[in-house]
Symmetry: C2
Subunit: 189 residues, 2 copies
DNA sequence: AAAACAACTTGATCCAGGTTAAGCAATGCT
DNA sequence: AGCATTGCTTAACCTGGATCAAGTTGTTTT
């Protein structure tokens, strides 16, 4: 039983012990070494990933070969290539461990089964996506209206774990600036 | 019966005629004149808005008084201040009609009732938010990696209705550039 | 421990898009 | 009709962050 994971669910929805068992059984534990990928561009992403220990980044590579970090996921966060996951088509996203990590993996098929058997799971993910959408809209809005230095300050304030544990190059990409600019911003602070 | 609206639901989920009736009854028809607001900053946004006719923009105003367009919603799209809607706290978003418009409005309370009475409604919104999240992530990614001119080209290609019907100043804000820049881009094309 | 590589910093120069300021055309108001 | 406002364009100049190019420091690998 993945107690820690199940608590994340029971914070939001009620589940009987039998349902908790059933849910927990759908998740498979996997270890991912630093710099190893768990999702690759060009493949259909068939899993949702819950980060138990460690950290990941999801990123795309543009036609010039430049990487763009979409998400940095520490413990207790979900990460996936949602476009590929929901469309069942090959995606453009890579997902790579930033540290030696441990994840709980839920497959597309198992999730569809859960939606049928335990309909309240639908609510859990409805709430999850709702919040994710709001957070992403805020990030987009800030990207368009707030200069990079202030966005970095906010990242340090709101997500100190990211600022401490993640390499500058990935944070810079996540903020949409170059590593050189972020280095200068740090110096300036 | 709001037939057109109900079809949007039955494209994604199955509903009995009685459920369709119940769902349809939760929506109230409202007319909004051009430039009139339906949601204002500082208030709790208690509604989800389905655009039946016309168009809307949602936007915030930053500390310098500059407006930032978050979303442009034409017919068949949903618009709201989702942050305020889900947290029940006052929001920062304004939502304003860009043309004389007609909307179907669903209140927070009615939606919670629907989630209880017709659980498959939960699925509809789970799917809606899933897709909205993916679309927003793509937009953020392009904002950070693609120059403004190409983003405008893509907007014209993918959302011709917006390019034709919406004022340049709002499209520019949506793209995160000034009206002057967008004017130059148009000239250049 | 040496060599190789990865992460970060620093400096010089460049450029997309911002800012400021005018002007014009179309629409609305009295 | 006449005046004000809104929407769009153009032009001159400015700037935040990019790009290019060298370092420096730290960490693996052999």
């Amino acid at each position: 039983m993945h107690t820690h994971l199940i608590e994340r669910f029971t914070e939001k929805i009620s589940l009987t012990p039998a349902e908790q068992e059933r849910l927990s059984d759908c998740f498979k534990l996997r270890h991912v070494r630093k710099k190893k990928s768990i999702v690759q561009e060009g493949e259909v992403c068939r899993i949702l990933i819950f980060v138990n220990k460690g950290s990941f980044r999801s990123y795309t590579i543009d036609e010039k070969g430049v990487e763009h970090v979409l998400q940095i996921a520490l413990e207790n966060h979900w990460v996936s290539d949602l476009y590929s996951f929901i469309t069942r088509k090959p995606g453009q996203v890579h997902i790579e461990a930033l540290e030696d990590s441990e994840v709980l993996v839920l497959s597309y098929e198992d999730l569809q089964g859960l939606y049928q058997e335990i309909p309240v799971i639908e609510r859990y993910f409805r709430l999850l996506y709702e919040r994710a959408y709001v957070a992403l809209q805020l990030r987009l809005n800030e990207t368009l209206s707030v200069p990079a230095e202030e966005r970095y300050r906010e990242l340090v304030a709101n997500q100190p774990g990211i600022a401490q544990r993640v390499a500058l190059i990935h944070i810079a990409s996540y903020l949409g600036i170059t590593p050189e600019s972020l280095s200068r911003i740090r110096k300036h602070m």
